[in-house]
Protein backbone atom coordinates (compact mmCIF):
# COMPACT_ATOMS: atom_id res chain seq x y z
CA UNK A 1 0.00 0.00 0.00
CA UNK A 2 2.65 2.57 -0.71
CA UNK A 3 3.24 3.89 -4.21
CA UNK A 4 -0.17 3.18 -5.64
CA UNK A 5 -2.07 4.67 -2.73
CA UNK A 6 -0.13 7.85 -2.72
CA UNK A 7 -0.99 8.45 -6.34
CA UNK A 8 -4.69 7.77 -5.79
CA UNK A 9 -4.88 9.46 -2.42
CA UNK A 10 -6.67 8.29 0.65
CA UNK A 11 -10.42 8.44 1.16
CA UNK A 12 -9.99 8.10 4.90
CA UNK A 13 -6.85 8.69 6.91
CA UNK A 14 -6.57 8.78 10.66
CA UNK A 15 -3.52 9.41 12.80
CA UNK A 16 -3.47 8.22 16.38
CA UNK A 17 -7.23 8.34 16.53
CA UNK A 18 -8.38 7.58 20.07
CA UNK A 19 -11.60 7.70 22.04
CA UNK A 20 -11.96 7.31 25.77
CA UNK A 21 -15.20 7.06 27.68
CA UNK A 22 -14.17 7.93 31.20
CA UNK A 23 -11.35 5.58 32.06
CA UNK A 24 -12.29 3.08 29.38
CA UNK A 25 -10.46 3.26 26.08
CA UNK A 26 -12.79 2.35 23.21
CA UNK A 27 -10.38 3.19 20.40
CA UNK A 28 -6.71 3.21 21.10
CA UNK A 29 -4.75 5.38 18.68
CA UNK A 30 -5.48 3.87 15.28
CA UNK A 31 -3.84 4.86 11.99
CA UNK A 32 -6.38 3.92 9.38
CA UNK A 33 -5.54 4.30 5.70
CA UNK A 34 -8.35 3.70 3.23
CA UNK A 35 -7.26 4.17 -0.39
CA UNK A 36 -9.66 5.87 -2.78
CA UNK A 37 -11.50 3.43 -4.99
CA UNK A 38 -11.05 0.51 -2.63
CA UNK A 39 -13.69 -1.65 -1.03
CA UNK A 40 -12.30 -1.59 2.46
CA UNK A 41 -13.33 -4.14 5.05
CA UNK A 42 -13.20 -2.92 8.64
CA UNK A 43 -13.10 -6.14 10.52
CA UNK A 44 -13.28 -6.96 14.16
CA UNK A 45 -15.31 -8.79 16.77
CA UNK A 46 -18.25 -7.11 18.47
CA UNK A 47 -17.08 -4.45 20.87
CA UNK A 48 -13.69 -3.92 19.25
CA UNK A 49 -14.30 -0.23 18.56
CA UNK A 50 -15.49 -0.31 14.95
CA UNK A 51 -18.67 1.69 15.40
CA UNK A 52 -17.00 4.15 17.76
CA UNK A 53 -14.37 4.78 15.08
CA UNK A 54 -17.05 5.24 12.42
CA UNK A 55 -18.90 7.74 14.64
CA UNK A 56 -15.72 9.77 14.88
CA UNK A 57 -15.09 9.56 11.12
CA UNK A 58 -18.56 11.00 10.51
CA UNK A 59 -18.31 13.76 13.10
CA UNK A 60 -20.98 12.29 15.33
CA UNK A 61 -18.62 12.07 18.25
CA UNK A 62 -15.42 13.90 19.02
CA UNK A 63 -12.08 12.14 19.13
CA UNK A 64 -10.24 12.27 22.45
CA UNK A 65 -7.02 12.63 20.48
CA UNK A 66 -5.67 12.13 16.98
CA UNK A 67 -6.60 13.55 13.60
CA UNK A 68 -9.05 12.47 10.93
CA UNK A 69 -9.09 13.30 7.28
CA UNK A 70 -11.97 12.20 5.07
CA UNK A 71 -11.84 12.75 1.30
CA UNK A 72 -8.74 14.83 1.83
CA UNK A 73 -10.34 17.25 4.28
CA UNK A 74 -10.01 17.48 8.00
CA UNK A 75 -12.90 16.21 10.13
CA UNK A 76 -14.89 17.40 11.93
CA UNK A 77 -13.65 20.90 11.00
CA UNK A 78 -14.78 20.57 7.37
CA UNK A 79 -17.83 18.45 8.13
CA UNK A 80 -20.18 20.53 6.00
CA UNK A 81 -17.95 20.20 2.94
CA UNK A 82 -17.20 16.51 3.44
CA UNK A 83 -20.46 14.88 4.49
CA UNK A 84 -22.50 15.75 1.37
CA UNK A 85 -20.15 13.41 -0.48
CA UNK A 86 -20.49 10.63 2.05
CA UNK A 87 -23.36 8.18 2.33
CA UNK A 88 -23.60 6.32 5.59
CA UNK A 89 -25.28 3.48 7.37
CA UNK A 90 -24.26 3.73 11.02
CA UNK A 91 -25.05 1.14 13.66
CA UNK A 92 -28.12 -0.21 11.99
CA UNK A 93 -30.89 1.58 10.15
CA UNK A 94 -33.12 4.02 12.02
CA UNK A 95 -36.39 5.44 10.76
CA UNK A 96 -39.64 7.06 11.79
CA UNK A 97 -41.93 4.05 12.21
CA UNK A 98 -45.07 6.06 11.53
CA UNK A 99 -43.85 7.21 8.10
CA UNK A 100 -43.68 5.15 4.92
CA UNK A 101 -40.34 4.03 3.52
CA UNK A 102 -40.42 6.66 0.78
CA UNK A 103 -41.52 9.39 3.21
CA UNK A 104 -38.64 8.48 5.49
CA UNK A 105 -36.14 8.84 2.67
CA UNK A 106 -37.64 12.17 1.63
CA UNK A 107 -37.43 13.37 5.23
CA UNK A 108 -33.75 12.46 5.53
CA UNK A 109 -33.08 13.93 2.10
CA UNK A 110 -34.44 17.32 3.18
CA UNK A 111 -31.90 17.24 6.00
CA UNK A 112 -29.15 17.42 3.37
CA UNK A 113 -28.95 21.05 2.32
CA UNK A 114 -27.16 20.01 -0.83
CA UNK A 115 -29.87 17.68 -2.09
CA UNK A 116 -31.95 19.36 -4.79
CA UNK A 117 -35.68 19.40 -4.12
CA UNK A 118 -36.64 19.09 -7.78
CA UNK A 119 -35.20 15.61 -8.17
CA UNK A 120 -36.10 14.38 -4.68
CA UNK A 121 -38.97 12.10 -5.66
CA UNK A 122 -37.06 10.62 -8.57
CA UNK A 123 -33.95 10.06 -6.44
CA UNK A 124 -35.95 8.43 -3.64
CA UNK A 125 -37.62 6.15 -6.18
CA UNK A 126 -34.28 5.32 -7.77
CA UNK A 127 -32.68 4.47 -4.44
CA UNK A 128 -35.62 2.27 -3.43
CA UNK A 129 -35.42 0.49 -6.77
CA UNK A 130 -31.72 -0.06 -6.35
CA UNK A 131 -32.23 -1.95 -3.07
CA UNK A 132 -35.35 -3.76 -4.30
CA UNK A 133 -37.86 -1.98 -2.09
CA UNK A 134 -40.08 -0.28 -4.68
CA UNK A 135 -43.00 -2.55 -3.81
CA UNK A 136 -42.88 -1.48 -0.16
CA UNK A 137 -42.26 2.22 -0.75
CA UNK A 138 -45.65 3.29 0.62
CA UNK A 139 -45.74 0.87 3.51
CA UNK A 140 -45.19 2.28 6.98
CA UNK A 141 -41.74 1.39 8.29
CA UNK A 142 -43.09 -0.21 11.47
CA UNK A 143 -44.43 -2.95 9.17
CA UNK A 144 -40.96 -3.52 7.67
CA UNK A 145 -38.89 -6.57 8.55
CA UNK A 146 -35.36 -6.09 9.85
CA UNK A 147 -33.98 -6.95 6.42
CA UNK A 148 -36.22 -4.39 4.74
CA UNK A 149 -35.13 -1.71 7.20
CA UNK A 150 -31.55 -2.61 6.45
CA UNK A 151 -32.20 -2.18 2.73
CA UNK A 152 -33.93 1.12 3.37
CA UNK A 153 -30.89 2.23 5.35
CA UNK A 154 -28.67 1.43 2.39
CA UNK A 155 -31.10 3.24 0.07
CA UNK A 156 -30.73 6.31 2.30
CA UNK A 157 -26.98 6.24 1.78
CA UNK A 158 -27.56 6.12 -1.99
CA UNK A 159 -29.89 9.11 -2.34
CA UNK A 160 -27.13 11.07 -4.04
CA UNK A 161 -24.05 9.94 -5.92
CA UNK A 162 -21.36 9.61 -3.27
CA UNK A 163 -17.60 9.55 -3.29
CA UNK A 164 -17.48 7.51 -0.11
CA UNK A 165 -19.93 5.08 1.38
CA UNK A 166 -19.58 4.06 5.00
CA UNK A 167 -21.61 0.94 5.66
CA UNK A 168 -21.63 -0.33 9.23
CA UNK A 169 -22.62 -4.02 9.25
CA UNK A 170 -24.67 -3.70 6.03
CA UNK A 171 -25.78 -7.31 5.87
CA UNK A 172 -27.01 -7.52 9.44
CA UNK A 173 -30.44 -9.13 9.49
CA UNK A 174 -30.43 -9.95 5.79
CA UNK A 175 -31.18 -13.40 4.46
CA UNK A 176 -28.62 -15.08 2.18
CA UNK A 177 -30.34 -13.66 -0.89
CA UNK A 178 -30.23 -10.17 0.58
CA UNK A 179 -26.59 -10.61 1.54
CA UNK A 180 -25.78 -11.50 -2.05
CA UNK A 181 -27.65 -8.50 -3.31
CA UNK A 182 -25.73 -6.19 -0.97
CA UNK A 183 -22.50 -7.74 -2.15
CA UNK A 184 -23.34 -7.16 -5.80
CA UNK A 185 -24.53 -3.64 -4.98
CA UNK A 186 -21.20 -2.89 -3.32
CA UNK A 187 -19.39 -4.29 -6.34
CA UNK A 188 -21.37 -2.13 -8.75
CA UNK A 189 -20.85 0.97 -6.60
CA UNK A 190 -17.14 0.28 -6.48
CA UNK A 191 -17.14 -0.14 -10.25
CA UNK A 192 -18.60 3.36 -10.50
CA UNK A 193 -15.61 4.62 -8.56
CA UNK A 194 -17.15 4.97 -5.12
CA UNK A 195 -14.90 4.09 -2.21
CA UNK A 196 -16.79 1.71 0.06
CA UNK A 197 -15.85 1.34 3.71
CA UNK A 198 -17.65 -1.69 5.13
CA UNK A 199 -17.48 -2.73 8.73
CA UNK A 200 -18.26 -6.29 9.61
CA UNK A 201 -17.61 -8.95 12.18
CA UNK A 202 -18.11 -11.55 9.48
CA UNK A 203 -14.89 -12.51 7.87
CA UNK A 204 -16.39 -14.40 4.95
CA UNK A 205 -18.28 -11.30 3.99
CA UNK A 206 -15.17 -9.16 3.92
CA UNK A 207 -13.29 -11.84 2.01
CA UNK A 208 -15.95 -11.89 -0.70
CA UNK A 209 -16.57 -8.19 -0.94
CA UNK A 210 -13.39 -6.29 -0.24
CA UNK A 211 -10.10 -5.43 -1.86
CA UNK A 212 -8.55 -4.13 1.36
CA UNK A 213 -9.12 -4.79 5.03
CA UNK A 214 -8.15 -3.66 8.47
CA UNK A 215 -8.55 -5.72 11.59
CA UNK A 216 -9.56 -4.21 14.92
CA UNK A 217 -9.09 -5.92 18.24
CA UNK A 218 -9.83 -4.41 21.62
CA UNK A 219 -9.70 -0.87 20.26
CA UNK A 220 -6.43 -1.28 18.37
CA UNK A 221 -5.74 -1.74 14.71
CA UNK A 222 -3.82 -5.01 14.52
CA UNK A 223 -3.46 -5.37 10.75
CA UNK A 224 -4.28 -3.51 7.57
CA UNK A 225 -3.56 -3.85 3.89
CA UNK A 226 -4.80 -5.54 0.75
CA UNK A 227 -6.41 -8.93 1.22
CA UNK A 228 -3.41 -10.53 -0.50
CA UNK A 229 -1.04 -8.83 1.92
CA UNK A 230 -3.08 -9.98 4.89
CA UNK A 231 -3.16 -13.54 3.56
CA UNK A 232 0.57 -13.70 2.91
CA UNK A 233 1.25 -14.14 6.57
CA UNK A 234 -0.31 -17.58 6.46
CA UNK A 235 1.06 -20.55 4.47
CA UNK A 236 -0.49 -22.95 1.96
CA UNK A 237 -0.73 -26.50 3.16
CA UNK A 238 -1.51 -30.03 2.06
CA UNK A 239 -4.68 -31.57 3.36
CA UNK A 240 -4.70 -35.34 2.82
CA UNK A 241 -7.37 -37.89 3.71
CA UNK A 242 -6.12 -41.45 3.72
CA UNK A 243 -6.41 -44.80 5.52
CA UNK A 244 -2.60 -45.15 5.37
CA UNK A 245 -1.48 -42.36 7.64
CA UNK A 246 1.83 -43.88 8.54
CA UNK A 247 2.86 -44.26 4.89
CA UNK A 248 1.71 -40.74 4.12
CA UNK A 249 3.75 -39.27 6.96
CA UNK A 250 6.81 -41.12 5.68
CA UNK A 251 6.40 -39.99 2.05
CA UNK A 252 5.70 -36.38 2.93
CA UNK A 253 8.67 -36.21 5.29
CA UNK A 254 10.77 -37.62 2.49
CA UNK A 255 9.59 -34.74 0.26
CA UNK A 256 10.95 -32.30 2.81
CA UNK A 257 7.61 -31.34 4.31
CA UNK A 258 6.74 -31.46 7.98
CA UNK A 259 3.52 -33.50 8.15
CA UNK A 260 1.37 -33.98 11.23
CA UNK A 261 -1.49 -36.34 11.90
CA UNK A 262 -4.43 -34.03 12.39
CA UNK A 263 -7.43 -36.20 13.20
CA UNK A 264 -8.31 -39.82 12.95
CA UNK A 265 -11.98 -40.57 12.73
CA UNK A 266 -13.57 -43.94 12.01
CA UNK A 267 -12.23 -44.80 8.58
CA UNK A 268 -9.90 -42.09 7.38
CA UNK A 269 -7.08 -40.24 8.92
CA UNK A 270 -6.17 -36.69 8.00
CA UNK A 271 -2.61 -35.63 7.47
CA UNK A 272 -1.71 -31.96 7.23
CA UNK A 273 1.58 -30.53 6.09
CA UNK A 274 2.63 -26.94 5.57
CA UNK A 275 4.10 -26.37 2.13
CA UNK A 276 6.46 -23.78 3.49
CA UNK A 277 8.90 -22.53 0.88
CA UNK A 278 9.20 -25.87 -0.89
CA UNK A 279 8.00 -25.55 -4.46
CA UNK A 280 6.21 -28.90 -4.82
CA UNK A 281 3.40 -28.94 -7.31
CA UNK A 282 0.25 -30.74 -6.11
CA UNK A 283 0.47 -33.37 -8.84
CA UNK A 284 4.07 -34.16 -7.88
CA UNK A 285 3.04 -34.75 -4.27
CA UNK A 286 0.16 -37.02 -5.35
CA UNK A 287 2.48 -38.99 -7.65
CA UNK A 288 4.94 -39.49 -4.80
CA UNK A 289 2.19 -40.62 -2.44
CA UNK A 290 0.77 -43.10 -4.94
CA UNK A 291 4.26 -44.40 -5.69
CA UNK A 292 4.73 -44.87 -1.92
CA UNK A 293 1.63 -47.07 -1.79
CA UNK A 294 -0.53 -44.54 0.03
CA UNK A 295 -4.23 -44.80 -0.81
CA UNK A 296 -5.62 -41.31 -1.32
CA UNK A 297 -9.27 -40.65 -0.48
CA UNK A 298 -9.00 -36.88 -0.52
CA UNK A 299 -6.30 -34.40 -1.42
CA UNK A 300 -6.27 -30.64 -1.42
CA UNK A 301 -3.92 -27.72 -1.24
CA UNK A 302 -5.50 -25.27 1.20
CA UNK A 303 -4.74 -21.61 0.71
CA UNK A 304 -4.20 -19.79 3.95
CA UNK A 305 -7.55 -18.45 5.00
CA UNK A 306 -8.11 -15.01 6.31
CA UNK A 307 -10.09 -16.64 9.06
CA UNK A 308 -7.02 -18.15 10.67
CA UNK A 309 -5.31 -14.84 10.47
CA UNK A 310 -8.37 -13.12 11.89
CA UNK A 311 -8.67 -15.55 14.75
CA UNK A 312 -4.96 -15.33 15.42
CA UNK A 313 -5.24 -11.56 15.63
CA UNK A 314 -8.43 -11.15 17.55
CA UNK A 315 -8.67 -14.28 19.63
CA UNK A 316 -11.25 -16.99 19.39
CA UNK A 317 -14.59 -17.42 21.06
CA UNK A 318 -17.13 -15.05 22.41
CA UNK A 319 -14.98 -13.13 24.85
CA UNK A 320 -15.46 -9.47 24.36
CA UNK A 321 -12.12 -7.98 25.17
CA UNK A 322 -12.45 -5.13 27.59
Amino acid sequence: MTGETQVQGLAIETRGLAKKFGSQTAVNGIDLMVPRGSVFGFLGPNGSGKTTSIRMLLGLSLATSGTISVLGQSMPARLHEVLPHVGALVEGPAFYPFLSGAANLRRLDTADRFAPRGTRRARVQGALERVGLSHAADKKVHAYSLGMKQRLGIANALLLPRELLVLDEPTNGLDPQGTREVRSLVHSLAAEGTTVFVSSHLLAEVEQMCTHAAVMSAGSLVAQGTLAQLRQVGESRVHLRTPDAAGALRVLTHLGLDPVLATSDAADEVVIALLGDTNWQPEAIVTALVAGGVRIRGFAIEEPSLEERFVALTGEGFDVVQ
Binding site: S61, H80, D112, R113, P116
Partner: protein, 289 residues
Amino acid sequence: MSSSEFLPQTQTHTRARVGGWDLLGSEISVLFRRRRTWAMLAAVALIPTLLAVAVRLSSSTLDPGEGPPFLDRVSQNGLFVGFTAMVVAIPLFLPLTIGVVAGDTIAGEASLGTLRYLLVAPTGRVRLLLIKYAGAALFCLVATLTLTVSGALIGAALFPVGPVTLLSGDTISVTESLWRSLLVAAYVTVSLLGLSMIGLFISTLTDVPVGAMAATIVVSVVAQLLDVIPQLDWLHPWLFSHYWLGFADLLRQPLDLGSFGQNAIVQVCYVAVFGALAYSRFVTKDILS
Protein backbone atom coordinates in the same frame (compact mmCIF):
# COMPACT_ATOMS: atom_id res chain seq x y z
CA MET B 1 -18.29 11.59 -9.11
CA SER B 2 -18.80 9.43 -12.14
CA SER B 3 -22.52 8.99 -11.71
CA SER B 4 -23.62 12.55 -11.20
CA GLU B 5 -26.60 12.22 -13.48
CA PHE B 6 -28.78 14.06 -10.99
CA LEU B 7 -26.36 16.89 -10.44
CA PRO B 8 -24.59 17.76 -13.65
CA GLN B 9 -23.09 20.87 -12.03
CA THR B 10 -21.25 18.99 -9.32
CA GLN B 11 -17.99 18.30 -11.02
CA THR B 12 -16.04 20.12 -8.37
CA HIS B 13 -15.56 19.17 -4.79
CA THR B 14 -18.12 21.59 -3.43
CA ARG B 15 -21.71 20.75 -4.07
CA ALA B 16 -24.09 23.64 -4.65
CA ARG B 17 -26.19 24.48 -1.64
CA VAL B 18 -29.80 23.94 -2.58
CA GLY B 19 -32.77 22.78 -0.56
CA GLY B 20 -32.31 25.56 1.98
CA TRP B 21 -34.87 25.20 4.72
CA ASP B 22 -36.74 22.22 3.30
CA LEU B 23 -36.10 20.48 6.57
CA LEU B 24 -38.38 22.96 8.33
CA GLY B 25 -41.26 21.94 6.09
CA SER B 26 -40.38 18.31 6.66
CA GLU B 27 -40.23 18.85 10.42
CA ILE B 28 -43.67 20.44 10.46
CA SER B 29 -45.15 17.73 8.29
CA VAL B 30 -43.65 14.99 10.49
CA LEU B 31 -44.96 16.74 13.62
CA PHE B 32 -48.46 16.97 12.22
CA ARG B 33 -48.42 13.48 10.76
CA ARG B 34 -48.08 11.97 14.19
CA ARG B 35 -51.22 10.68 15.77
CA ARG B 36 -49.94 11.91 19.11
CA THR B 37 -50.05 15.52 17.92
CA TRP B 38 -53.62 15.18 16.76
CA ALA B 39 -54.65 13.45 19.97
CA MET B 40 -53.25 16.34 22.00
CA LEU B 41 -54.98 18.92 19.82
CA ALA B 42 -58.22 16.97 20.14
CA ALA B 43 -57.80 16.99 23.93
CA VAL B 44 -57.15 20.73 23.82
CA ALA B 45 -60.36 21.21 21.85
CA LEU B 46 -62.18 19.07 24.40
CA ILE B 47 -61.54 21.58 27.21
CA PRO B 48 -63.90 24.34 25.99
CA THR B 49 -66.32 21.69 24.78
CA LEU B 50 -66.60 20.01 28.19
CA LEU B 51 -66.83 23.37 29.87
CA ALA B 52 -69.60 24.62 27.63
CA VAL B 53 -71.59 21.39 27.80
CA ALA B 54 -71.34 21.28 31.59
CA VAL B 55 -72.59 24.87 31.92
CA ARG B 56 -75.36 24.25 29.40
CA LEU B 57 -76.61 21.12 31.15
CA SER B 58 -76.55 22.45 34.69
CA SER B 59 -79.64 24.34 35.71
CA SER B 60 -78.09 26.26 38.56
CA THR B 61 -76.64 29.64 37.71
CA LEU B 62 -73.37 30.65 39.22
CA ASP B 63 -73.06 33.73 41.33
CA PRO B 64 -70.78 36.30 39.77
CA GLY B 65 -67.19 35.45 40.65
CA GLU B 66 -67.86 31.82 41.48
CA GLY B 67 -65.78 29.17 39.67
CA PRO B 68 -62.98 30.04 37.26
CA PRO B 69 -62.93 33.61 35.94
CA PHE B 70 -65.56 34.31 33.28
CA LEU B 71 -67.39 31.03 33.92
CA ASP B 72 -70.34 32.87 35.38
CA ARG B 73 -70.75 34.81 32.15
CA VAL B 74 -70.64 31.87 29.79
CA SER B 75 -74.35 31.17 29.94
CA GLN B 76 -75.12 34.78 28.97
CA ASN B 77 -72.57 35.01 26.17
CA GLY B 78 -70.96 32.11 24.30
CA LEU B 79 -67.93 34.21 23.49
CA PHE B 80 -66.70 33.73 27.05
CA VAL B 81 -66.23 29.98 26.56
CA GLY B 82 -62.86 30.51 24.88
CA PHE B 83 -61.57 32.86 27.60
CA THR B 84 -62.68 30.56 30.40
CA ALA B 85 -61.14 27.53 28.71
CA MET B 86 -57.86 29.42 28.31
CA VAL B 87 -57.78 30.21 32.03
CA VAL B 88 -58.42 26.56 32.81
CA ALA B 89 -55.86 25.21 30.30
CA ILE B 90 -52.86 27.47 30.82
CA PRO B 91 -51.64 26.27 34.24
CA LEU B 92 -51.43 22.59 33.45
CA PHE B 93 -52.87 21.31 30.24
CA LEU B 94 -51.15 23.50 27.69
CA PRO B 95 -47.73 23.18 29.43
CA LEU B 96 -48.29 19.44 29.38
CA THR B 97 -48.74 19.32 25.61
CA ILE B 98 -45.79 21.70 25.14
CA GLY B 99 -43.74 19.47 27.43
CA VAL B 100 -44.50 16.49 25.21
CA VAL B 101 -43.63 18.28 21.96
CA ALA B 102 -40.58 20.22 23.20
CA GLY B 103 -39.23 17.34 25.29
CA ASP B 104 -39.42 15.08 22.26
CA THR B 105 -37.51 17.38 19.88
CA ILE B 106 -33.96 16.06 20.18
CA ALA B 107 -34.42 13.14 22.58
CA GLY B 108 -37.12 11.66 20.35
CA GLU B 109 -34.81 11.68 17.33
CA ALA B 110 -32.05 10.24 19.48
CA SER B 111 -34.19 7.38 20.73
CA LEU B 112 -35.35 6.54 17.20
CA GLY B 113 -31.72 6.72 16.04
CA THR B 114 -32.68 9.17 13.30
CA LEU B 115 -30.62 11.89 14.99
CA ARG B 116 -27.39 10.36 13.68
CA TYR B 117 -28.81 10.16 10.16
CA LEU B 118 -30.00 13.77 10.27
CA LEU B 119 -26.55 14.87 11.42
CA VAL B 120 -24.58 12.92 8.83
CA ALA B 121 -26.94 14.09 6.05
CA PRO B 122 -25.49 16.65 7.03
CA THR B 123 -27.87 18.88 8.93
CA GLY B 124 -25.90 21.41 10.90
CA ARG B 125 -26.46 21.00 14.61
CA VAL B 126 -27.39 24.64 15.06
CA ARG B 127 -29.79 24.43 12.14
CA LEU B 128 -31.40 21.34 13.61
CA LEU B 129 -31.90 23.10 16.96
CA LEU B 130 -33.47 26.12 15.25
CA ILE B 131 -35.79 23.96 13.19
CA LYS B 132 -36.79 21.87 16.18
CA TYR B 133 -37.54 25.03 18.14
CA ALA B 134 -39.54 26.48 15.27
CA GLY B 135 -41.61 23.28 15.17
CA ALA B 136 -42.30 23.45 18.92
CA ALA B 137 -43.20 27.14 18.70
CA LEU B 138 -45.57 26.42 15.84
CA PHE B 139 -47.22 23.76 17.96
CA CYS B 140 -47.77 26.35 20.74
CA LEU B 141 -49.54 28.56 18.24
CA VAL B 142 -51.65 25.75 16.80
CA ALA B 143 -52.64 24.49 20.26
CA THR B 144 -53.79 27.90 21.50
CA LEU B 145 -55.60 28.60 18.23
CA THR B 146 -57.28 25.22 18.47
CA LEU B 147 -58.52 26.12 21.92
CA THR B 148 -59.66 29.59 20.86
CA VAL B 149 -61.44 28.45 17.72
CA SER B 150 -63.11 25.43 19.27
CA GLY B 151 -64.17 27.62 22.20
CA ALA B 152 -65.75 30.18 19.88
CA LEU B 153 -67.52 27.49 17.86
CA ILE B 154 -68.94 25.53 20.78
CA GLY B 155 -69.86 28.78 22.56
CA ALA B 156 -71.74 30.03 19.54
CA ALA B 157 -73.47 26.69 19.16
CA LEU B 158 -74.74 26.40 22.73
CA PHE B 159 -75.21 29.95 23.96
CA PRO B 160 -76.41 33.31 22.74
CA VAL B 161 -73.74 35.46 21.17
CA GLY B 162 -73.76 39.19 21.53
CA PRO B 163 -71.71 42.23 22.42
CA VAL B 164 -69.26 41.42 25.19
CA THR B 165 -69.05 43.32 28.45
CA LEU B 166 -65.38 43.62 29.39
CA LEU B 167 -63.74 43.55 32.81
CA SER B 168 -63.62 47.32 32.72
CA GLY B 169 -67.38 47.50 32.23
CA ASP B 170 -67.20 48.66 28.62
CA THR B 171 -68.99 46.77 25.90
CA ILE B 172 -67.39 45.75 22.63
CA SER B 173 -68.90 44.32 19.44
CA VAL B 174 -68.78 40.65 18.48
CA THR B 175 -66.15 41.30 15.79
CA GLU B 176 -64.02 43.25 18.22
CA SER B 177 -64.30 40.44 20.76
CA LEU B 178 -63.15 37.88 18.17
CA TRP B 179 -60.10 40.05 17.57
CA ARG B 180 -59.50 40.10 21.31
CA SER B 181 -59.73 36.29 21.32
CA LEU B 182 -56.99 36.07 18.73
CA LEU B 183 -54.94 38.52 20.75
CA VAL B 184 -55.37 36.28 23.81
CA ALA B 185 -54.25 33.29 21.71
CA ALA B 186 -51.17 35.27 20.64
CA TYR B 187 -50.49 36.19 24.28
CA VAL B 188 -50.70 32.57 25.42
CA THR B 189 -48.53 31.40 22.51
CA VAL B 190 -45.84 33.89 23.51
CA SER B 191 -46.25 32.76 27.13
CA LEU B 192 -45.30 29.23 26.18
CA LEU B 193 -42.18 30.10 24.13
CA GLY B 194 -39.91 30.18 27.18
CA LEU B 195 -41.09 26.78 28.34
CA SER B 196 -40.61 25.42 24.81
CA MET B 197 -36.96 26.43 24.85
CA ILE B 198 -36.51 24.91 28.32
CA GLY B 199 -37.99 21.69 26.90
CA LEU B 200 -35.61 21.82 23.92
CA PHE B 201 -32.65 22.24 26.26
CA ILE B 202 -33.73 19.35 28.48
CA SER B 203 -34.23 17.29 25.34
CA THR B 204 -30.56 17.72 24.41
CA LEU B 205 -29.54 16.21 27.76
CA THR B 206 -31.00 12.77 27.28
CA ASP B 207 -31.84 10.04 24.78
CA VAL B 208 -35.05 9.18 26.62
CA PRO B 209 -37.88 11.35 25.30
CA VAL B 210 -40.31 10.48 28.09
CA GLY B 211 -37.79 11.70 30.64
CA ALA B 212 -37.36 15.01 28.85
CA MET B 213 -41.13 15.43 28.54
CA ALA B 214 -41.72 14.73 32.23
CA ALA B 215 -38.88 17.00 33.31
CA THR B 216 -40.24 19.87 31.19
CA ILE B 217 -43.69 19.48 32.71
CA VAL B 218 -42.19 19.34 36.22
CA VAL B 219 -40.30 22.56 35.52
CA SER B 220 -43.54 24.29 34.58
CA VAL B 221 -45.27 23.06 37.73
CA VAL B 222 -42.35 24.10 39.94
CA ALA B 223 -42.29 27.58 38.39
CA GLN B 224 -45.97 28.03 39.21
CA LEU B 225 -45.42 26.78 42.77
CA LEU B 226 -42.60 29.26 43.30
CA ASP B 227 -44.88 31.94 41.97
CA VAL B 228 -47.32 31.54 44.87
CA ILE B 229 -44.72 31.62 47.66
CA PRO B 230 -44.79 35.21 48.98
CA GLN B 231 -41.28 34.98 50.43
CA LEU B 232 -39.95 34.67 46.90
CA ASP B 233 -41.67 37.75 45.53
CA TRP B 234 -38.35 39.16 44.29
CA LEU B 235 -38.18 36.14 41.99
CA HIS B 236 -41.75 36.23 40.74
CA PRO B 237 -41.31 38.73 37.88
CA TRP B 238 -38.56 36.48 36.50
CA LEU B 239 -40.55 33.27 36.45
CA PHE B 240 -41.59 32.29 32.96
CA SER B 241 -45.04 31.41 34.28
CA HIS B 242 -45.56 34.70 36.15
CA TYR B 243 -47.56 36.42 33.41
CA TRP B 244 -49.35 33.35 32.13
CA LEU B 245 -52.73 34.51 33.42
CA GLY B 246 -52.03 38.15 32.60
CA PHE B 247 -54.06 38.03 29.42
CA ALA B 248 -57.04 39.36 31.39
CA ASP B 249 -55.49 42.76 30.69
CA LEU B 250 -56.36 42.23 27.06
CA LEU B 251 -60.02 42.22 28.08
CA ARG B 252 -60.05 45.81 29.24
CA GLN B 253 -61.02 48.97 27.44
CA PRO B 254 -58.85 50.72 26.42
CA LEU B 255 -56.66 47.80 25.45
CA ASP B 256 -53.77 47.41 27.91
CA LEU B 257 -50.74 45.84 26.24
CA GLY B 258 -48.48 46.37 29.26
CA SER B 259 -48.54 42.79 30.49
CA PHE B 260 -48.19 41.55 26.91
CA GLY B 261 -44.91 43.43 26.68
CA GLN B 262 -43.62 42.34 30.09
CA ASN B 263 -44.53 38.76 29.33
CA ALA B 264 -42.75 38.96 25.98
CA ILE B 265 -39.58 40.31 27.62
CA VAL B 266 -39.49 37.49 30.17
CA GLN B 267 -40.07 34.91 27.46
CA VAL B 268 -37.32 36.38 25.26
CA CYS B 269 -34.94 36.16 28.23
CA TYR B 270 -35.76 32.48 28.74
CA VAL B 271 -35.46 31.76 25.04
CA ALA B 272 -32.04 33.43 24.98
CA VAL B 273 -30.67 31.75 28.11
CA PHE B 274 -31.95 28.26 27.45
CA GLY B 275 -31.24 28.60 23.73
CA ALA B 276 -27.62 29.32 24.63
CA LEU B 277 -27.55 26.36 27.01
CA ALA B 278 -29.07 24.06 24.40
CA TYR B 279 -26.55 25.30 21.85
CA SER B 280 -23.52 24.81 24.07
CA ARG B 281 -24.72 21.37 25.09
CA PHE B 282 -25.73 20.13 21.65
CA VAL B 283 -22.88 21.32 19.41
CA THR B 284 -20.32 19.36 21.40
CA LYS B 285 -22.49 16.39 22.28
CA ASP B 286 -21.27 12.92 21.38
CA ILE B 287 -24.12 11.31 19.49
CA LEU B 288 -23.98 7.74 20.74
CA SER B 289 -27.62 6.79 20.28
